[in-house]
Symmetry: C2
Subunit: 405 residues, 2 copies
C-alpha cells in the first residue's frame, strides 16, 4: 500500500466530463489499495475569467483581494471532484489551502509554502477516504488567503507529498512524459522512463514547459519522486528522481532542449576594467529584464565585448537601454539579433565523460551550423545559433547522442 499524491491541472479538470474521467482514474488507484491525495487546479479558463472580472473593476487590483478572488477557482474543482468520487462510490473529502493549513508567507500572488499540517489528511486517509486539496493556495499567519502564483498547483502537490512522506507525486498533464526532445521537431523523440531532478531543471529552464521549475526544485530538495503522466492516456510516464548511483552506465545525454524566445545583444569597444560588466548589465536588470546567456571577451586592443540574450519581447526596451549605456561608456558599437535560438544538451552523464562538448560541436559543424555563443554548466552545454538551423541542429544532436527510439 503506497501513499500517492496526484496532481491534475486545469485542462485535466476543464469540464464536468473530464472531472468524471479524473475521478475514474483516482478510483482505480484507490481500489488497488493505495492511499490517494489529489491536488487540483481551477477548471481551465476559470482563473482568466476571474482575473478579467477584477481588471474590469480595477486596473491594479489589491493583491490580497486578488487571492481571495482567484482561490475560488480551485475551491470549485475540489468540491466537484469529491462529488464525482462519491458518484463512483468512493468516500472523499475536500480541503481548501486554508483548511488543510498550508501555511505560507504573506506575499500575495506569489506566496511560498512554510509548513503543511498533515494531521487532518492522514486521519481521512486512515478512514479510507480520498482527500482532495485545492492547489495553488494557502493561508498566512493572520488567516489571509494567499496564492502561490501560476503553476503553483504543481508546488502544492510536491509540498503535500513531502509533508505526508508520500511514496510518489504524480503530475498529470497533457503529455505522457518527458521526451528526449520536442516530438514536434524530432519525430524520433523518445519518452524517457526516468530523468534526474537536475536534468529536469536544466530541461525546464531551457523551455521544456511540462513542469514548473519551482516544483522540481522542491521535489529535489525533499527527495520526492515525481512522475509526469498523461491525464488522457494510460502509461508509465517519466519518473523524476535522484541520480541512481547503482546504474552502471548512465546515458551521457538525456535530452535536447531548445528555446526560440531569445534575442541577442552585443556591445563592443567598452573599457576592459572592473565594474564595466555591472555598468552594462545592472541597468538592464534594474528594468526587470531577465538576462540569460552572458559572454564577455577581450579584443586585441584591450577593449571588451559583452554579448547577452534576453527574451524577445524585451528586446526593444533592452536595445534602448544598451544604446544609452554605450553612449555613457563611449562604446564602439551596439548590435542586436532576434533571429537566434538556444539549443542545449542536458545529461548527468556529462560529469564523468570527457569530450561531450567536442562531440556536440562536431555534430553541428558537420551540418554547417555556425555557433555564435557557448555556455556550459556541469550537466548542460548550451549554444546560440541562427534560428533557421534550429530543427536541423536538434535532429543532428538527437542522432549524434543516440537518443532515437
Amino acid at each position: 500500500m503506497s501513499l500517492i499524491v496526484q496532481k491534475y491541472g486545469g485542462t485535466s479538470v476543464g469540464s464536468v466530463e473530464r472531472i468524471k474521467a479524473v475521478a475514474a482514474k483516482v478510483v482505480a488507484r484507490h481500489q488497488a489499495g493505495d492511499k490517494i491525495v489529489v491536488a487540483v487546479s481551477a477548471m481551465s479558463g476559470e482563473t482568466n475569467r476571474l482575473i478579467d472580472l477584477a481588471k474590469a473593476i480595477h486596473e491594479q487590483p489589491n493583491l490580497r483581494e486578488m487571492d481571495v478572488l482567484v482561490s475560488t477557482g480551485e475551491q470549485v474543482t475540489i468540491a466537484l471532484l469529491c462529488m464525482a468520487l462519491e458518484a463512483e462510490g468512493v468516500s472523499a473529502r475536500s480541503y481548501t489551502g486554508g483548511q488543510v493549513r498550508i501555511l505560507t508567507d504573506n506575499a500575495h500572488g506569489k506566496a511560498r509554502i512554510k509548513e503543511i499540517d498533515g494531521h487532518r489528511i492522514h486521519a481521512d486517509l486512515n478512514a479510507g477516504r480520498v482527500v482532495v486539496v485545492a492547489g495553488f493556495q494557502g493561508i498566512d499567519d493572520d488567516g489571509n488567503i494567499t496564492t502561490l502564483g501560476r503553476g503553483g498547483s504543481d508546488t502544492t502537490a510536491v509540498a503535500l507529498a513531502a509533508a505526508l512522506k508520500a511514496d510518489e507525486c504524480q503530475i498529470y498533464t497533457d503529455v505522457d512524459g518527458v521526451y528526449t526532445t520536442d516530438p514536434r521537431v524530432v519525430a524520433k523523440a523518445r519518452r524517457l522512463d526516468k530523468i534526474t531532478f537536475e536534468e529536469m531543471l536544466e530541461m525546464a529552464s531551457q523551455g521544456s514547459k511540462i513542469l514548473q521549475i519551482r516544483s522540481v526544485e522542491f521535489a529535489g530538495k525533499y527527495n520526492v519522486p515525481l512522475r509526469v503522466m498523461s491525464s488522457f492516456q494510460d502509461g508509465p510516464g517519466t519518473l523524476i528522481s535522484l541520480e541512481d548511483n547503482d546504474q552502471m552506465e548512465e546515458p551521457i545525454v538525456s535530452g535536447i532542449a531548445f528555446n526560440r524566445d531569445e534575442a541577442k545583444l552585443t556591445i563592443r569597444g567598452i573599457p576592459d576594467q572592473p565594474g564595466v560588466a555591472y555598468k552594462v548589465l545592472g541597468a538592464i536588470s534594474e528594468a526587470n529584464i531577465e538576462i540569460d546567456v552572458i559572454v564577455q571577451n577581450v579584443a586585441k586592443d584591450d577593449s571588451a565585448t559583452i554579448t547577452f540574450t534576453v527574451h524577445r519581447n524585451d528586446l526593444p526596451k533592452a536595445s534602448e537601454l544598451l544604446n544609452q549605456i554605450a553612449e555613457d561608456l563611449g562604446a564602439l558599437e551596439v548590435s542586436s539579433d532576434d533571429r537566434i535560438v538556444k539549443v542545449s544538451i542536458v545529461g548527468v552523464g556529462m560529469r564523468s565523460h570527457a569530450g561531450v562538448a567536442a562531440k556536440m560541436f562536431q555534430a553541428l559543424a558537420a551540418e554547417g551550423i555556425n555557433i555564435q555563443l557557448i555556455t556550459t554548466s556541469e550537466i548542460k552545454i548550451t549554444v546560440v545559433i541562427e534560428e533557421r538551423y534550429l530543427e536541423l541542429a536538434v535532429r543532428s544532436l538527437h542522432s549524434a547522442f543516440g537518443l532515437e527510439e
Copy 2:
C-alpha cells in the same frame, strides 16, 4: 458616527457595473463618517451556475461538498467589491464566513449561526477600513464550510449587526421599502416609513417576499433595527423595529397581505371525537405537506367538518391522502377548491382597538365578497375568499382602513 451593516443581494451585485454602483453607495456613507460593514450575496445567476455543475456530476451531491462549492459565489463578490472600493480610494478588506469566524452548527445547506467573532472586524473599522463579509456562509466547529441556505445573506447581515452592536442593519433590495400592499394590485399603495418586527413577520408569512422570515425573527430577537432600502434609487426605505410605545396613536392596520398559492380541502361528516383532527391532519403533515389555515366546525347531527388550506402544488397529493382518510373514518364527503386566495390585514394597533374584524367583514360584504374561512391572530385577521375577488378585496380593505397615500 454610526456603525451600519449593509446587505446587498445578488441582483444588486449582479454585474461589474452594479458592483461599482454599490461601492459608490458604500463610499458615500463611509465618507459621511459612519463605520460600514457590508454583507453580500453571490452575483445573480452564479449560485445556480454552480448548482448546475454539481447536478451534472451527482444527482444528490454530498452536502458538505455542496457548501464548499456554492460558498465560492459570495467569495468572488467580496473580493470584487473590495477592489471597487479601493478604486474609489477607500481602504477595504474582505472576509469569508470562516475568516470572520461566523461559527455555525454543522447542518450543511441550512446551518444556523451560533456565534460571531467581531474582533477582526472592529479592528479594521477602527483602522478606517470598510469591511466586506461573505453572506450566507459560516464554518462549523471542525472548520468545515457551511451555508445558511437560500436567503441566508439577510441573516448574515442581521447576525453581524447584532454581534457588532450596530446602530442599524440596512437590507438593500430591488424595492424601495415595505408597502401597505402590493402596488401592482393597488395603485395607491403607500411605502411605510416604519413597521414593527411582528407586523413584518405577519406580512412575510402571507407572501410579502421582501425579507426572509428568519432574518426578521433574528432582528426582532436581538432588537436590531432593520431598514429595507432600494439598491437602485435613493430614499429612506422602511424601518423595521420594536413597537414605539411613545407614539400616541398607532395605525390600526399597517398593511394588507395576500397569497394566491393556496388551495382549500374540506372533509365532512367525520365523528366529533377526540383525536379526529389528528387523524385527518397528521397524515397530511407526515407527507411533508404544510397546512396553513385550519377550521373545524360541528354540524347539527354532531358530525364534524374540517377545512384547511395547503400550497396549490400540494393539492393533488393532499386530496389523495384525504380521500384515503375519509374512507378509513367513514366520512361523508371530501371536496377541494384551488380557486381561492388568502387576504390578511396586519397591524399592531389591533391589540388596542375593538371592532377591527367587523370593519373588515363589512368592507368585504359591501363588495358582495363571500368569506369562506376566517382565522385571527393577535395582530392579523385572515380570510379565505374566491380568487376572482382578490384585487377587489385588497383595494376595498386598503381604502376602508385609510392606507392610501
